[in-house]
Symmetry: D3
Subunit: 187 residues, 6 copies
Amino acid sequence: MPERITALDLEPAELSDGTRAYFAKCEEKLGLVPNVLKAYAFDEKKLRAFTDMYNDLMLGESGLSKLEREMIAVAVSSINHCYYCLTAHGAAVRQLSGDPALGEMMVMNWRAAELSGKQRAMLEFAVKLTEQPDKMVEADRTTLRDAGFSDRDVWDIASTAAFFNMSNRLAAAIDMRPNPEYHAMAR
Amino acid sequence: MPERITALDLEPAELSDGTRAYFAKCEEKLGLVPNVLKAYAFDEKKLRAFTDMYNDLMLGESGLSKLEREMIAVAVSSINHCYYCLTAHGAAVRQLSGDPALGEMMVMNWRAAELSGKQRAMLEFAVKLTEQPDKMVEADRTTLRDAGFSDRDVWDIASTAAFFNMSNRLAAAIDMRPNPEYHAMAR
Amino acid sequence: MPERITALDLEPAELSDGTRAYFAKCEEKLGLVPNVLKAYAFDEKKLRAFTDMYNDLMLGESGLSKLEREMIAVAVSSINHCYYCLTAHGAAVRQLSGDPALGEMMVMNWRAAELSGKQRAMLEFAVKLTEQPDKMVEADRTTLRDAGFSDRDVWDIASTAAFFNMSNRLAAAIDMRPNPEYHAMAR
Amino acid sequence: MPERITALDLEPAELSDGTRAYFAKCEEKLGLVPNVLKAYAFDEKKLRAFTDMYNDLMLGESGLSKLEREMIAVAVSSINHCYYCLTAHGAAVRQLSGDPALGEMMVMNWRAAELSGKQRAMLEFAVKLTEQPDKMVEADRTTLRDAGFSDRDVWDIASTAAFFNMSNRLAAAIDMRPNPEYHAMAR
Amino acid sequence: MPERITALDLEPAELSDGTRAYFAKCEEKLGLVPNVLKAYAFDEKKLRAFTDMYNDLMLGESGLSKLEREMIAVAVSSINHCYYCLTAHGAAVRQLSGDPALGEMMVMNWRAAELSGKQRAMLEFAVKLTEQPDKMVEADRTTLRDAGFSDRDVWDIASTAAFFNMSNRLAAAIDMRPNPEYHAMAR
Amino acid sequence: MPERITALDLEPAELSDGTRAYFAKCEEKLGLVPNVLKAYAFDEKKLRAFTDMYNDLMLGESGLSKLEREMIAVAVSSINHCYYCLTAHGAAVRQLSGDPALGEMMVMNWRAAELSGKQRAMLEFAVKLTEQPDKMVEADRTTLRDAGFSDRDVWDIASTAAFFNMSNRLAAAIDMRPNPEYHAMAR
C-alpha cells in the first residue's frame, strides 16, 4: 500500500497521456515523481498551472542561479517550518552546491552560512518579505540594487520568495509528505 | 503619462495577439485591465502562468462560492496589509455581495462581520494558515470538516489562502499599485 | 428597531439638555451622531470626559493639521484592525484630504502613500509607539525633531497615537459598530 | 534644580487657581503631586480632560473594586513595560491590598498571583485586549459574563485596560518619570 | 507548614553534609536559603550542577562587575516575565547598586535607566539574544567590541543572558516561588 | 589549520589531565570531541559546570528516554533556529531512533512526525515554554500529568527544554560551529 501523500482524501483523476509522460520524465530525470505533483494530480488543470509557474520560476531564465533560487526557497521554508519544502529543496541545495553543509544551513539558519554580501542581501530581502510583507519599502529595493541586482533580479527574488510562501502554506494546510528518497540524497 | 504600476523598471515585452485579446476582454468585462496583469506583462510566460493559476482558483469549479473565495483573499490580505489586493479584492467582495459594508469589514477586520459558523471556520483556517503555517495540525482540518466542508473544499480554502500569501508578497515587494477605478466601485 | 451599537446591554441614561444639544449639533454638522457618543451616553460623565479629550486632541490647537491627526488615527487603527475607527476616521481622511485613495491607503497600508519625509517620520513614530511601546528611546524623539517637529508636536503625535490605542481597544472589547453612513462618504 | 519629568521641553503654563488647589489636594492626600499631572500641566485643558477621565475610571462608581482597577492597570502596564505606570500603580496595588507581594506579582507576572477565577478572567480579558485587540470576539465577553461580571463591569474592565494602553504609550513616548517616592511606598 | 516552593510534588532527598553546610552558609551570608536551591535539592547532583554553573557565572572572575551581571539577569527576566528571577535578582540589583530605583527600572524597563553607552550595548545584546536568538550576526558582536568589550566579555554577556533564559523557563514551568524576604530588601 | 569553532578569540587554556582524558573518551565513544566542549575549554571550570549539567540532564536517570530528551532538544532548537544544536542533536535523534526521517522532522517541524499523544504533549509543553514562558500556568502541568507524566518527568521535560534555550543562545551569540562529521551521521 502506498504511503499517503496528503491528509486529504481526494478523488484521483484519470491521468492524461501528457501528465503520464511528464511523470515518466520526472522519474527518469529525478528518480522520483515529486509528491507535490501527485498531490495536485487530482485535477490536471491545477497541476498544470502549478508546474507552469514552478518550472518558469525555478528553472527558467533568470539573473539568479538555480542554486540561489533554491537557497531562497529553503530560507523562506525555514521560517515557515515547512517539512515538505525543507526536505525537497534542502536536497536540491545540497545537490546543486555539492555542499551538504550548505543545505543544512539553509534549513536550519541561513545566517550560519558564509555567503557573499550580495547573496546575504538577497536572503535578507526574502526573509523580510516573508516575515513582514507589510513593512516593505523602497529602501529594501534600493539595498538589493546597491548589492548589484537588476530590477529584473528583484522581481525574481520577490516572486521566488512569494511562491514558497504559497507553497509552504498549501503543504502545511494539507500535511503534504515529501518523498522519503530526498532525505538521503547528496549527503 | 501613465501612472507607474510598480517600483521596478522592467523592459516591456511586445504583447502577443493572445495577450492583446485577453486584455481587451478584461477591458470589456471589467472596464479595466487589472494592473497586476500589466505588471506581469513584461514576460508573457510568467503572465500566463499567473493567470492560469488565478483563473482556475478564483473562477473555476469549487464548492466555495466566488464570494467566499474573495472573502478569503481579502481576509488574508488584511493580515498582510497588502494595498493592491485589499483594493482590488475588497471591490470584488463589495460587488459580488452587493454589500459595501461587507467589503469594508473584510478589509478592516473580518471578525466584525456577521457570518455563518461555516464561513467563520473557513476564515479562521485561512488566518491561521497565514499567521502560523508551522502550527497547522489535523485538528484544523477536522474543524473545517465538522463545519461541513469536504476535503476538496479544504484544498480550495487552503490554496486560495496560500495564493494570496504569495500575491500579497509579490505586490509588497515591488510596490504594485491598484487601478484607481477600484476605489469607487460598488460603494 | 435601531441597529445595536455595541455588544453590551447597558441601561440607557436619561440624556441631559446639554447632551441633547450636543447630539443635535453633531447631527447638524456631521449629518449623524457618531455611534461612539451613543455608546458612551449610558453615563454622561464618561461621555463628557471622552468628548473633552477627543475634541481637544483632534480639533484643538496643534502644530499638526487636522488631516495629519486623522492620518495618525487611521494608521494606528490599521495595526489594531479596529473596524469602528477605520470606518469613521478613514472617512475623515477622505473628507479632509479630498483624496479618497489616501483614505484607503491609511486604512490598508500607509506605507503605500506618497508622503513627505516629515509625515512619514510622524507615522513611523506612531506605529512604533503602537507596536513596541516598550522600545521607545530618545533616538525616536530625535528623529521627529530632525524631521522638523517641535517638542509640542511630539506630544501631539504621541498623545494622538496613544488615544487611538485606547479607543481601538474599547471599540474592539465591546464590538462597537460605526454608523453605516460613513462607508459612502467622500468616495 | 528639580529633576526633569519628561524628555520634552514644553513651555510651562501659568497654573490657574483651580489647578493649584487640585495639586495642593494631591499633595495633602497622596503626599505628592503625581508627575503625570505635572507633565500635562503645560496645557490646562489637556490636564483637565485627562484627570476627568482618570478620576471617573479609577475612583468613580463601578462594580470593580479600586484594587481590581489598579490590578488591571498594572497587568496591562507590565505587558507594555511602562516604567511610569508600573511604578505609580504598582505602589497603588501594594497600598490598596496591604500585600506588597501582590503588587510585585502584578508588575512582574500577574499569573504568579493566587487570584479567584473571576479576577483571573478579568485579567485574561485585559491582557488579550492589550496584546490582540483585533482578535476580540463575543466568546471573550461571554467568558466574563460566565465568571459573574455584568455588562457594565465588562465596560469598566475594557475601558480601564484601554486607558492604560493609552497612558503607557504617552509615558513611553515622552519618557515620563515617576515620582521617586513611589518606590518605597507600602513595601 | 512551610509555603510550597514549586508546583511539583517531588520526593525530598536526604541532604548530604555538604549540602547542609552549603545551605547554612547561605543562611549566614544571605539571611536565607534561596528557594531555587531548595527546589533543586530533591536531587543533589542536579543541585550541584546548577550551583557550580551559577556561582561561576555570577560570582566568578569576569570583566563584568557583579552588578552588571545582575542587570543582565533582570533585563532578560523582564522580557520573560519571570516572577522568581525578577524578585530575587531585582533585589540583588538594588543591593549591589545601592540604588533601589535602578532595581525597579531593570525589572520594569531597563531602557528607563540612565546607563553608559557601554552598559546599554551590553543590555541591547542580551535582549536581542533573548528575543531573537536566530537573528544574531557578527555585527552584534562587533557592536560590543566597539563599545569596549573584550571577546571574553562577550562570552560572559552571552552566557549570563543565556543562563537566565534557562532559569526563567525552569522557574516558569514549575511555578517556582521566591523567598518572600526578597521583596523588602534594599528598598 | 583547524577550522574556527566560534567567532570569539579566546585564549586557549592548558588542558588538565582530566580534561584530556575526557576528550579522549569522547573521541573513542563518539568519534569526535563535540565542538561545544572545545568552545568551553578556554576555562576548565566553565567546561566542567557545563558537562556536569549536560550529562546529568541528557544521560542521567529519568522517566524520559534518551531519545525523548533529544527530541525535546531538537524541537526547541528548531524554534530558535540554532545551527549548532540542530546539527549535533538532529544527528542524535537519527542515531537513537534509527529513523533518519524522524531526525529531519524534529529539525524542520516536529508536528510532521507521527508521535504518541504522550510525546506530543511533551513537545507542546517544551514549545510553549520556549515561545511563551510568561504564559505557563497550572493547566499546562495538568496536561502533562493527564498524558501520563509524573511530577519528576515534568521537571525533566522542563529542565531539558530550558537547558536548550540556554545552549541555543550561547551558540547563537558566539556563532558556535558544529563538527562537520555530524552531517553525514546516521543518514
